[in-house]
Amino acid sequence: MTGKVLRKTIPVTLPVMAGFLSLGTAFGILLQDAGYGLPWALLMSVFIYAGSAQFLCVELLAAGASLSQVAILTFLLNFRHIFYGLTMITRYRGVKRKWYLIFGLADETYAFLSADKISEGVEKDDYYLAVTALHQTYWVIGTIIGSLAGVLIPFDMAGIDFAMTALFAVLVVEQWKAHSTHFPVVLGFFITSMALLLFGADHFLILALVTICAVLLLCRKRLEGAE
């Protein structure tokens, strides 16, 4: 990757930089507060590199969840990545450093690369690599800042863990705006609330997710027609 490629790519990735630095910092602070310092934070941001899954891991580590729970919940939270990959097969065919590009296909990176807006004067391979690597770099830098800030500055942690709730609230609003039918959002809210009431905070999540998936699959044709 040359300096010219970076000069052309950094400006277009600035919005993601703002989001990743702030969310990465929140993650680093939360992990530090849970008793896991910079090495653990780096390990997670380098090898997991999935924001929502990493926030989930903080909760699971704090709760001492079983390893099977870790696997199931991580899969349920991130199985959308399978569909991202499906749509990138053609774009990544024959591209250099393909294995890193696939590993680094986070939500924002997918949104970026699937828009096919390659910076002028930059080769496709270099653009893909630069965007993917810059996005992960922003995330890792945010994590380092958060982890160090958690040690150096005494924080009142009340409310910091709301960062993840806020992120998902934004995703719900985006889904609400992007689709003509609001059935999935209402269904998700209703079933999750019912499951929480019926089964309690320790057991509601997987039951709610499975029920939501089942109902959405049953209503699939009708929903696709409404779109």
Partner: protein, 48 residues
């Protein structure tokens, strides 16, 4: 040394890496992508 956090990270990383690589390992070797990928692409792009 408590290895529990290391196992949590390894399992989470393995699951994430699997979800990202599976489509390429299963479908990425052919000359042309299956037709339904086009509709999945439109679906995913609308959601983002």
């Amino acid at each position: 040394m408590n290895l529990y956090p290391l196992f949590v990270i390894l399992i989470a990383a393995a699951v994430i890496i699997t979800t990202r690589f599976v489509p390429f390992l299963l479908l990425g070797r052919g000359e042309e992508p299956p037709a339904y990928i086009v509709s999945w692409e439109m679906y995913c792009r609308r959601r983002l």
